[in-house]
Amino acid sequence: MTTARTAPQHRGTPARMGFFTDTSVCIGCKACEVACKEWNGIPEDGYLLTGMSYDNTAELGASTWRHVAFVEQPARQATDLGMPAMGPPAEPTDQSGEIRWLMSSDVCKHCTHAACLDVCPTGALFRTEFETVVVQPDVCNGCGYCVPACPYGVIDVRPGDGRAFKCTLCYDRLKAGETPACAQACPTESIQFGELSELRKRADLRLTELHEKGLDVARLYGRDPDDGVGGDGAFFLLLDEPEVYGLPPDPVVTTRDLGSIWKHVGAAAAAVVGMGVASFLGRRR
């Protein structure tokens, strides 16, 4: 069984919409987190101090649909990212004790091949006309199957409510022709919203620009339509390996192996039949 499928392109269907999050210009202001909570009316989920740099949000979850990660590293190279700066340009440092700060606003990836959607038994999760992935809260019965299915650890069940929640890519705003709240609030255009094909072109240009400036560590994540999830509707420009930001390095949609899974279940079921038959053959007792 294959899960590969491309949504049928009807005339008048809107283009696939998505996010390109360029973490090289993220300043860690968390305006996206706040705007998301406000617009979507998401309840608070604790005021925990984590001790992880400036990140007290900790992770995406049922009540956190944007999460800004803060990574502190020994500085290895200083590169002009084209950001406004004060003071003299930083010298390339090695053992100077200076740190490099990586900030990245994480979000649901709205996968082309979305495991959460594939495994949802009620049909509560569905693909919208913008090819985003959304939960219908009036259908979800809180079975929780989507939670371990997601290769990014995005979707979760909200304690006390019992249903699963995640980013809707502001489905209500998209239907009204508006920009999602996080992208609207982002002051540096680190979060860019638009047609996915256009965002991919823009990301390629930005990557070339950074590579030309010598920032070889820059890379796109989730940009490739041939990756294990068929490419992400929300993809990123990162300045280090994905796992440093808490992202899986090579995620694969679990249902890619579903054919093999059902085949082995079928063989094992046949083995149970065989055991049953064999148990009654021969001896009378």
Binding site: N141, G142, G246, M275, S279, R285
Partner: protein, 307 residues
């Protein structure tokens, strides 16, 4: 030695992470609801097969015990599944659509049909009413039983949880074998010796398949390490030892001593429970530690680059 005191199987691999936090979400499935359901589904499905065989070969005591086990296991399993839902009152939404891509959707239809048929067969058996329809229902339950006993492996394997997903080839056989072991074991406990022969043979065959398939999982390297370590490792080891002891007792004295047969049967049932809890908890552990997500994905990337 690891911090937990068990010998480590492979050297701790180097990997980077975000403050050591998990990448995957912990499954929100509750303990004991879900591991118990995995056990009950196996018990019920294989008991239905046993009941049909007993009916066809004229073993009324074995048939009665197995029919009740099939119906009781399915009913209790359904209760456990509904209780596990975040919104139990919406359990009927499970039957709202049929999705082959969702083992839980397929399984809900299998479980609903099986429960109805096994329940009808058991009711007819106990009351003596509508014997022909009861027989027909029993045959239907036996036809669905093997699927009910093994689809639960697809349920856990069709996730991003490394220890479950990477074992997707072996888990259906572990589950089918463990279910046969449980059904055979329960029937050994409750059936007179002269009718329990098929139950003993089913338990022995199930035990053999389960042990071989579980051993094959352990050979899959780092991702299946959680099956060996900590609490899940202890559960899996206890299950394997109990299965071996019960099998030895069954072979040596299963057909002669009612007491030993019943004790061996109870040990089989306990081993099947331990296996399900061990597999469930190994999955939780593999989702908790980012090592099991990052390292295999990195290795896969390197292997792909080398090709």
């Amino acid at each position: 030695m690891s911090p937990r005191g068990e010998p480590t199987v492979v050297p701790e691999p180097e990997f980077r992470s975000y403050y050591g936090r998990p990448i995957l979400k912990q499954p929100t499935w509750k303990t004991p609801d879900v591991p118990l359901y995995l056990f009950l589904g196996g018990l019920a499905g294989c008991s239905a097969v046993l009941a049909e065989g007993a009916s066809l070969t004229g073993r009324p005591e074995l048939e009665r015990v197995a029919r009740l086990a099939a119906a009781g296991g399915a009913a209790a399993g359904t209760v456990a599944l509904v209780h596990d839902l975040g919104r139990p009152e919406r359990f009927l939404n499970m039957l709202r659509v049929i999705k082959p891509t969702s083992p839980l959707s397929v399984g809900s239809f299998v479980l609903a049909s099986f429960s109805g048929l096994a329940g009808a067969a058991a009711a007819s058996q106990v009351t003596g009413l509508l014997p022909r329809l009861g027989r027909l229902a029993g045959a239907g339950a036996a036809a669905l039983g093997p699927t009910l006993a093994t689809y639960t492996a697809a349920l856990v394997a069709d996730t991003a949880v490394p220890a479950w997903h990477e074992a997707h080839r072996e888990l259906p056989f572990v589950f089918g074998g463990s279910g046969a072991e449980a059904a055979g074991g329960l029937a050994m406990m409750l059936t007179p010796l002269d009718q329990a022969g098929p139950a003993r043979r089913m338990a022995l065959a199930g035990a053999a398949i389960e042990i071989v398939a579980a051993e094959a999982i352990l050979r899959r390297g780092l991702v299946t390490e959680p099956y060996r370590l900590g609490r899940p490792g202890r559960l899996m080891n206890a299950a394997r030892a109990a299965t071996a002891v019960a099998s030895a007792a069954t072979v040596l004295a299963g057909g002669r001593s009612r007491l030993l047969s019943a004790l061996a049967g109870a040990t089989y049932v306990a081993a099947s429970v331990a296996t399900r809890f061990g597999i469930f908890e190994a999955g939780l552990e593999s989702a908790r530690d980012p090592k099991y997500t990052v390292v295999p994905q990195r290795e896969r990337g390197r292997a792909a680059a080398a090709r």
